[in-house]
Amino acid sequence: MLYQLLTVDALLARDAQTDLGELHRRDRTIGRELEGLAGRPAAQVLAWAERRGEIPESGMENVRRVERGIGLVLVALGFVLGGVAAAGVLYYEGVGRVNVLAALALLIGVQLLTLALTVILMLPARWRALVPGLDAVQGVFSAFSPGRLFRSIGRWLAPAAAGRFDGVLAGAVATERKFGDVRKWLVLRASQMFAVAFNIGLLAVYLALVVFTDLAFGWSTTLDVDAARVQGLVETLAQPWKSWLATAVPSAELVEATRYYRAGGTAAVNAASLGRWWSFLLMCLVTYGLAPRLALLAFAAWRLDRAMRRTLLHLPGVAELRYRMNREAVETRAEDPESGVRAPTPPPAGEPIFLNGACVAILWGGLTLSDAEAARLVARAAGLATKGIHRAGVGAALEDDRETLRAAAVFAGPIAIIVKAWEPPLGELVDFIAELRGAADKGRAIIVMPMAEDPAAAPCADDIAIWRRRMASSGDPWLSVRGIAQEAAP
């Protein structure tokens, strides 16, 4: 699961560089194939990663190996330590007896204590907060938990995978809170793996000793405890199995008979009966050692899986991924890149054209100015007198345009064309000017004069700039643009 978690994270990180439309198309296709899993988000995300079929980063493949390796180390360690513990407690060299009470205390009592602490560790933080001091106990206990080995899993991973591990489980910033449950259950599951292996090792060595040696069990204590009380303890411990496995419950006679005193020697007892304790001790180890650990292991594994799945759904980009998979892919953008655009024209260069004398003026594009107004505008723009005024463009027939061209061409001075500054220069005017240039002398100045909506005002500088660039694109050195200056105050 850890491998899958990190793989999903790496795949999503890679997708962050991909175009959103493309992502939506791809993930929607996968999502439709996985429609049956839409109600199980984590399973759907995992299936998505599988469909992608990519190993997103080098080093990712060793995550599984490391995860398995650490698990194996813990299991082996637990098994060996369990075996050593059994051998130590049941050490018997033919003299004295194996004290059942000591064996119960060391093999079962200690385990039940650690079991209780493990359960405390498993409690939600807000429950623990209700009992003062519990957090401190838990802190000490968790410091010695073998499961902590899993916390440092990053050390054994390849650098890329290690970075991702830290990123997923610790967040991009150092915080212990993000996905804290994954870390908690990762440690707890690992410690239960260790504990189960410990119990199996314990049982294996115990059974080996039972089979291959003649363990002589007895019980002994300095305290003033009579056989009836020990019998009571034995009966209580044997509650879970006494109804169906009576042979594993020592009888009162056996308890009475197997008491021994180091100083006073032992009561005369049949040597064979000394070994009858073994089945009771075996059931104790299975019932109070192995079984609860197996249950806790299953519980921790279930909680870890749940925490992992929740973490998976909180990874950056997973909410978007689920949206892409499960929602209709709505696309509105262009499929092809923008290509049909005109490159911007460079700004006009060169010296301003020197103008003097009189000119002929053309009102372009349906301008409704009187001749006198037009003459004043030309004077404001270029200081020229006006000898004749014509109209062309919108509002005039195409034949009238040609007539205007002829009239302007025969005039010897500059030609002024008054245009609306707020309207863009169109191809029609560019064509007209080109025809005008063809009809007139090459060196004749043609001046385009954009006027503002209010004839008394100066046109906007941005509009003038647009006109300049458009006229400059013709490459005619005698074609210029002059904005009409603001009317002087009377």
């Binding site: 910033v173 908690k184 929602r327 209709e328 509105t332 262009a334 655009v341 309207e423 064509d431």
Partner: protein, 466 residues
């Protein structure tokens, strides 16, 4: 049923590309003040799971409409032949390259596209538009005129009077400010142009609305995740015995604030990507989380709680904690713990409101020196400041049309204290519960889910604005 196609046509530089960018949510559309930027048609198919529901075509502007109309009139026979003459015009001039722009824009119409004629309502109407409108009338295709006011001046009425002579439907639509509701209203109106289109456009609108709701939901989750990271942020630093602890503390505090800024920025990028504004140019008022005199800081007074709200919020958190003890002792404490918790919470919120970062000593190092940590911040106001800013940013991004090419300015809101005061008290209490959970719980996942659920309603409010 053939796919409805709408050709967006008009004079150059009147906002055709802006209209297309807004309706197609496409930042790649080139929008420039230079007239005649578009020289070729570009298609924008609206697809749902690969099925095209309609298509927009951005076209170059008319350059020689008067001459084109003159050619058509020369070849006119009867009014019934007008559309055929337009098609012939395209066929005749396409190969030669003459009337290049007119051919490019009339071609999709000749092939059956409807017409969306765009004019600038901030510029006066003039007779130079009549030739192109006449050509469009000749095509006989379903058509609508859009008055797109690019500048501040208002010539809309003048335009409407003229456009009604040539177009059955005339609408005002500002490509820069039209919110989502206005955009879908326009799409529905497209469906009215031709009876056979209605179903397609209705279906498209339903899909777009569902998609929009989903994006708001994603934005809410992105904000919740960012907030969670900011609230639980911890930075730490080991400081040797020889180092100056005061300087180390200051450096660590600076790092903490930088991390907060960086997280906020990351959250904003995520929200921008969700609304297809990825890679936008953003200019913003710097997020200055200053350590002292918080209430003197404009951003904190704009986004955060007032001192009274702070005290009430602190009391709420304190009472909740005290309530836990009351519950644990089965009410034997006569709710005293709740009362004490509320008082302590209110006092802590009031007096602790000017502290954002607090450096703590996390432990002593084996070889001497100390380990300092900062965070998670216990400042009650911080989540509100973060949330107010995040929602304001989300609102700006969600309302921003794709016709904008200028940087997104993230200024403080116009109405001081609007966001927090307009928040219903039930919502604020629910938010405070989420913040408390984030501060306390070991795993932020469930609290992030709860916060995202609260924010969904807030993030979707942008489309309620008309």
């Amino acid at each position: 049923m053939s796919t409805p196609v709408l050709a967006v046509v008009g004079h150059p530089n009147k906002g055709k590309s802006s209209i297309v960018a807004t309706l197609a949510h496409d930042l790649s559309v080139r929008i420039a003040p230079e007239p005649g930027t578009t020289i070729r048609s570009r298609r924008y198919p609206m697809k749902v799971d690969g099925r095209v529901l309609y298509e927009l075509v951005d076209t170059p502007g008319f350059q020689r409409a008067r001459r084109a109309l003159a050619w058509m009139r020369e070849h006119e026979t009867t009014a019934a032949q007008h559309a055929a003459v337009v098609s012939r015009f395209v066929e005749t001039h396409r190969p030669s390259g003459e009337f290049e722009d007119e051919c490019a824009l009339l071609e999709p119409i000749a092939q059956g596209a409807g017409i969306l004629y765009v004019v600038d309502g901030s510029k006066p109407y003039g007779p130079e538009y009549e030739a192109e409108m006449e050509i469009l009338r000749w095509t006989g295709r379903p058509r609508m005129a859009l008055v797109n006011p690019i500048g501040a001046a208002d010539h809309i009425e003048e335009w409407q009077a003229a456009l009604k002579q040539y177009f059955g439907i005339v609408r005002v639509f500002n490509a820069m400010s039209a919110n989502f509701t206005k955009q879908v209203e326009l799409l529905r109106a497209f469906g009215q142009l031709d009876e056979s289109w209605t179903k397609r456009f209705d279906e498209a609108v339903r899909a777009l609305e569902a998609d929009r709701r989903e994006r708001h939901r994603l934005a809410a989750r992105a904000i919740a995740e960012t907030m969670a990271e900011m609230i639980v942020l911890v930075v730490s630093q080991s400081v040797s015995r020889e180092a100056d602890p005061t300087r180390a503390e200051q450096a660590l505090e600076r790092r903490y604030l930088d991390e907060l800024r960086s997280l906020e920025n990351r959250g904003r990028l995520a929200v921008e990507r969700i609304y297809d504004h990825g890679g936008m140019n953003r200019r913003e008022t710097a997020f200055e989380l200053l350590e002292h005199d918080l209430f003197a800081e404009e951003s904190w007074s704009l986004w955060g709680l007032t001192p009274t709200q702070l005290a009430l919020t602190g009391a709420l958190g304190g009472a909740a904690a005290g309530g836990g003890i009351d519950l644990a002792v089965g009410g034997a404490s006569l709710m005293l713990a709740s009362l004490i918790g509320a008082t302590v919470g209110a006092a802590a919120a009031w007096f602790g409101s000017d502290r954002i970062a607090e450096v703590k000593i996390a432990g002593v190092l084996p070889l001497g020196g100390k380990r300092f940590t900062v965070g998670p911040s216990r400042n009650v106001n911080l989540p509100y400041v973060i949330l107010g800013r995040a929602l304001h940013h989300q609102r700006l991004v969600a309302l921003r049309t794709h016709a904008h090419r200028d940087p997104l300015d993230v200024p403080p809101p116009d109405t001081t204290r609007a966001w927090i005061d307009e928040l219903p008290s039930t919502r604020r209490r629910a938010l405070e519960r989420c913040f408390t959970r984030l501060r306390k719980e070991q795993d932020s996942g469930p609290a992030v889910d709860a916060l995202a659920a609260q924010l969904e309603a807030l993030s979707g409010e942008v489309d309620a604005v008309r």
